[in-house]
Subunit: 429 residues, 2 copies
């Protein structure tokens, strides 16, 4: 009678999921029909925050995905392997899958969804982006008739927390990172977060949904926040911007068939809806026609929020199973066949903020202007902002330029005798 | 083969809906399967912005809802009657319904959903709240496992536009209203908007979804923005607040079985996510467990945004019809049987902001304090802020107090010889 779950993993998200599924009082009545049938763990004797009946917990994950009694596999173990293989086996065995795993989906989504379509099962992934924020289902269903033009997100809580603290405290990246690590907001190895890899996985998934095609993760340009300095944050503030790590998927030159998909620290105008998203919160701004702008805001991580997304996906599957149909629901199944065309970053058209340290002030601005002009880089402002020791600091903001042209100009500028260094190059939204 | 629509109404939203349904290129492929079969209008010879094949447009709305060829009725004509009757006839005839009509749903929702359940059809209403913002479907599906504790929304664009302009320009209500009317942001008869009735309809719908029961619209407390003055906005700013017309549904004293559902101008802390929602934009903040806070932001009105919601509902129905099932989808059908218990406003526990004009300053603050104390009204601040002609102005902010107690204290204060008037009483979030 009930729907039987096989849960893979009992870490933070797995524990939150089991707790939520066990706490059925005053929640949706359909939760009553869900049975936690097996939970696969690596260390069966580890102390847990949840109690499960004898026989439910097992270390044999293969047995779970092969158990004919199980209807839905809930993958909350993370990692790439054996996760990918377990998901594929589950699908082959006709089981629906709920996953919170952006890394697996962004890398092996094509393989997984092709298998799911062949087997007639659904793969649900609301928890893979934005933690508890409903954004996958809105893109698949509530916004389904729109032509999506751009998706712009703050999708990594750790880096947003670090940038927010750098902004409010005037602190340096390294100091805030160390403190965030001691507080548990950043991992001991922070690479996936601070180098933008986690955000890249997520924007690949969002781009795929928004633009209706598969995304090759290797085509997603990715730049983290290690180079962002408190000096740049201070200048950005003076210029009317905050610095955010944005994940962006956008039609290149208003052309939805040629995308730019990228993650990088970005100067965001203070009046922009994403500018006020602070701390560990996430937000995803979707722009399309005819909808205009809609934004989804909420907790991007955490056991409870992520469990909300995982369990809502489970409930949606249970509801779909109740309709007792053999035909696939066109808005739940993945219909993408082709890969999206993604432009190289050199084709990007953007405004840029750049900070130069120069040895000798007289005539430098003129020389900069000449070289930028040569490469068609039109400047919005050039300001000599102050001195750092013996060096004059010059901040340049460009109009929209092609990134390739801008980089060529910078390469030539770097060779000027008057230029000591170019400590920061940031894109402007 | 295709799914046949009967559209009732060809005003702003109806025209936007037809335009979107006719513009299928580079949108969801499922749109190809939708046929605009009949469009019911009042004036067939009125010039229109859309072209429809001969025979599609008709003035016989009854014939549309009784036409056996039609699968889905799209109600975008507005008003209460004959709309309600047409919807009920359509349902009785086994047709699914998509509606943008908050007034009909908030008043006749019980009757309509009871009929829909009996007939085995769905009534979709994404466009009834928040224009194009996905909020109905997220509440029904993506957040379905949560215990919702509170829904707080800016759900009326006209009043938010007026309050934003009063705030930024320091203008008076009447002047901004007149200008908003001339710009088309407010109706010639602005009652439904500025007196909060439109917002009351919408929060009744959201409360019903969030708290899983029916809402008696008469129990929704409703207060508009006519009494909000530029003086109060200026004081609110000094105290760290902005004034917004909020629609709130909340468990009374953390008890989900006893609700407070209300619309009133509110002092919102400047750091609150809703404080920065300006102009005609809407936003709905949903708080629950375990999700925490999520917010949905976007255009609350307009032909394109509303058409996005209407057409996405249509597409969801078409997708569901494709699964060819006879069993109802438990998350799409309405499962509410009982009415929610709603407390009278006198039971509300809130902070209050009140402005007094007093004839004679000496000792007045002491007298206010004594009377408030008598009724257990604890004060956070009492400030004599200045003079208006011969009268001293005193602004009081309370701690959380029961509204009934606060009103009793005010009634007694009003009788003090020193009190000239109490021009504003506003709740504080």
């Amino acid at each position: 009678m009930g729907v039987k779950l096989g849960i893979l993993g009992l870490g933070t998200v797995g524990t939150g999921t089991v707790q939520l599924l066990q706490d059925k009082i005053d929640r949706h009545p359909l939760l009553q029909e869900i049975e936690i049938y097996r939970v696969g763990v690596r260390s069966p004797n580890k102390p847990r925050q949840v109690e499960l009946p004898a026989g439910v917990v097992t270390t044999d994950l293969e047995a779970i995905v092969n158990d004919p009694a199980i209807d839905i596999i809930v993958e909350v173990m993370g990692g790439l392997e054996p996760t990918r293989s377990l998901i594929l086996t589950a699908i082959k065995n006709g089981k629906h899958v709920v996953t919170a795993n952006k890394a697996v989906i962004s890398r092996f989504g094509a393989e997984i969804f092709t298998a799911a379509n062949a087997a007639g099962v659904y793969v649900m992934l609301e928890a893979s982006v934005g933690g508890g924020i409903p954004v996958i289902q809105p893109l698949k269903q509530s916004l389904s008739v729109n032509q999506i033009h751009a998706i712009t997100g703050i999708v990594n809580g750790t880096t947003n927390y670090i940038l927010t603290r750098m902004q409010t405290e005037g602190s340096d990246f390294d100091d805030v990172l160390a403190d965030a690590q001691s507080l548990g907001y950043a991992e001991a190895d922070p690479t996936a977060d601070v180098d933008g890899l986690d955000a890249a996985d997520k924007i690949a998934i969002l781009a795929s949904l928004g633009f209706g095609g598969r995304i090759n993760l290797a085509d997603v340009y990715c730049e983290g926040i290690r180079q962002v300095s408190k000096t740049d944050i201070a200048y950005a503030t003076k210029l009317g911007f905050v610095i955010k790590l944005l994940a962006i998927a956008k039609g290149q030159n208003h052309d939805r068939s040629q995308l730019s998909v990228r993650v990088h620290p970005t100067l965001v105008p203070q009046s922009h809806p994403l500018a006020t998203i602070n701390g560990v919160y996430n937000a995803i701004l979707v722009e399309g026609e005819p909808i205009g702008q809609v934004m989804f805001f909420g907790p991007g991580a955490g056991a409870g929020a992520t469990a909300s997304a995982v369990c809502s996906d489970i409930l949606n599957l249970v509801a779909t199973l109740k309709t007792d149909t053999s035909k696939a629901h066109p808005l739940l199944a993945c219909s993408h066949q082709h890969y999206c065309q993604i432009s190289p970053i050199s084709e990007l058209v953007s405004r840029f903020y750049t900070r130069f340290l120069t040895k000798d002030q007289s005539g430098v601005i003129g020389k900069l202007g000449t070289i930028f002009g040569k490469y068609d880089v039109s400047l919005e402002s050039v300001v000599q902002t102050g001195f750092q020791e013996q060096l004059a600091e010059i901040v340049v903001v460009t109009h929209d330029v092609k990134e390739g042209d801008f980089r060529k100009a910078l390469a030539e500028i770097k060779n000027l005798a008057a230029i000591d260094s170019i400590p920061s190059i940031l894109r402007v939204l």
